[in-house]
Point group: C2
Chain length 325, copies 2
């Protein structure tokens, strides 16, 4: 087993926090954030020392009707620039591109013409060849690139090793371990993280972790994988994200010892803007229905339906999940 990297008192200069609030949180409110919310989050993130802020998806306007979603499902250059100008801060800007749902050949400027710094390609494991092609395209345009392999808790170990080997031979900068179903325990997550780290050894690539909070383990798994050498950590304010949500920025900032991070500005943002969003009825976070889909290692869609239907018969829901297992 690899030794842990660093200790609880030290600073790991390689660690980067990526704020995914607008992107993953957008799945809770159809990406309909006000410009004020996004602008204030941008300012708070800069003051808090956050390393990357993800603005949303670059989705195909041919596949998705723009009138039916907020603009952060499309992340047009002019919309991002309306918030950040030329982004005079040290914080980098990322967007996500889903394999099969993005017109990547036409919708991205050259990096030299764009305020975007990093493109993260999200894929399922059978889409790795398509993801690799997109990664090379974005790399050639001049962007930093990441590849987020989703739903690996259901992937065969051999297949996963092949996928990691393929990606290790691309120009991708960061490969993300993604706990899509919130089903990983810290021991699973750290075992997998060590496999990812071993797969890119000597390539100069980094490993990231994206958690889901189904079993209240998003933060625990994030710091556990980090302790074994994962360095790109996804977080969102108050854990905002689909279903049970993600690792909370405020928990992570309280843990990390790098003096460049400052929790106060995130608390101030939560107080003024996130609480208002919750008061408007936007719902996310740990709850029993998400715990159950996490425990059973399955997609949260049934738990999301349970939530949307306002159900409270959790024992019946559990029986149904067991029937459909």
């Amino acid at each position: 087993m690899s030794p842990r990297k660093g200790n609880l008192m030290g600073v790991r200069e390689d660690v980067k926090i990526l704020d995914a609030t607008i992107r993953d949180g957008g799945l809770c409110n159809n990406f309909e954030f006000t410009d004020e919310f996004v602008t204030e989050l941008y300012k708070a993130n800069v003051k808090a020392g956050i390393d990357y802020m993800e603005f949303g998806y670059k989705s195909s306007t041919a596949m998705f009707d723009e009138s039916k979603f907020g603009k952060w499902k499309f992340c047009k250059e002019e919309d991002i620039r309306k918030i950040v100008g030329d982004n005079p801060s040290d914080m980098k800007i990322s967007v996500m591109a889903d394999v099969g749902r993005c017109d990547y050949k036409t919708d991205f400027l050259k990096k030299s013409e764009s305020v975007i710094d990093m493109v993260r390609v999200a894929c399922y494991i059978h889409q790795i060849p398509a993801a690799a092609e997109m990664v090379e395209h974005f790399h050639d345009l001049g962007y930093e690139t990441a590849c987020n392999i989703m739903a690996v808790s259901q992937a065969n170990s051999d297949t996963l090793m092949q996928a990691l080997d393929m990606l290790a031979h691309t120009n991708v900068d960061v490969i993300y371990l993604v706990d899509s179903y919130g089903s990983l325990y810290p021991e699973n997550a750290s075992d997998l993280a060590q496999k990812y780290i071993a797969a890119v050894e000597g390539t100069g690539k980094s490993i990231g972790f994206h958690a889901h909070n189904n079993q209240n383990l998003a933060f625990a798994n994030t710091i556990e994988t980090m302790s074994y050498g994962v360095s790109y950590l996804d977080a969102t304010v108050q854990g905002m994200g689909r279903g049970a949500g993600n690792c909370s920025t405020e928990l992570l900032l309280g843990f990390l010892k790098n003096p460049k991070y400052n929790l106060y500005h995130i608390l101030k943002f939560i107080e003024k803007h996130v609480q208002a969003l919750k008061a408007e009825g936007v719902v996310w976070g740990y709850d029993l229905q998400y715990m159950l889909t996490g425990q059973l290692n399955r997609h949260p869609r049934e738990a999301i339906d349970y939530t949307n239907d306002g159900r409270a018969d959790i024992s019946e829901f559990y029986k149904t999940l067991l029937d459909n297992h």
Copy 2:
């Protein structure tokens, strides 16, 4: 570093779950549970395979006015028997006795005359000699005994080692690592757990863990310490407990692979009884104010006041905590 004990698929026969809902949860509602609630929890715990159920504190009636608290602050023999009769189940019954707040020489029957199986002595580290005296008294009466050393995250390491050595020479059956302030990270918790385990090696004694959820780590720390050999695990339904609450029984039952455990009955109980308690306004669970006292390794009293005062100015609260640090 000690190896982990067992693996994620196996059954650890030494593991015992202790339901502390009435005892730690009683701190949220002044111990004013209805008999129906306690009876139904007892039945649910028996069906779910829970190993111990703690009914509350054995507090001194000379020090505390019985008219001002629910009966589970006192745990009289007749009150427990009203719920469990002679307890014909396999589940054992425990009560907690606080050093300095319990008339232990007069208020306990011999075990042969009592339905109580285990007495857990709770103390701060400077009270270890008093705790040891109580442990021996309860042992002589015929009870299983435990000693819960609270607030160890603020204790000096050498003092803690001396305390563990003293307890290792008593007749205590279980020594509990207690994360009173919810300030431990999994790496801290597992390091401490390994020290506790080493201190009792060869004595036949067991180590337990009692978590608090200030940093959303109650469940993570519980299973992490367990993986290194901790075997007595405290849990409460929906994490009910003072402030940020405890490790949730339902999360733990989803994790443990022993077929004797059955999650369904706990979900049914939550659905019928715990949700009603929440609807009545009893409040507990992870929230920003508890996160902050956990991050700063201090008693949650200021966070409890913040909650009771209905405050929402979390950034001001944070500044005040830093001022008083």
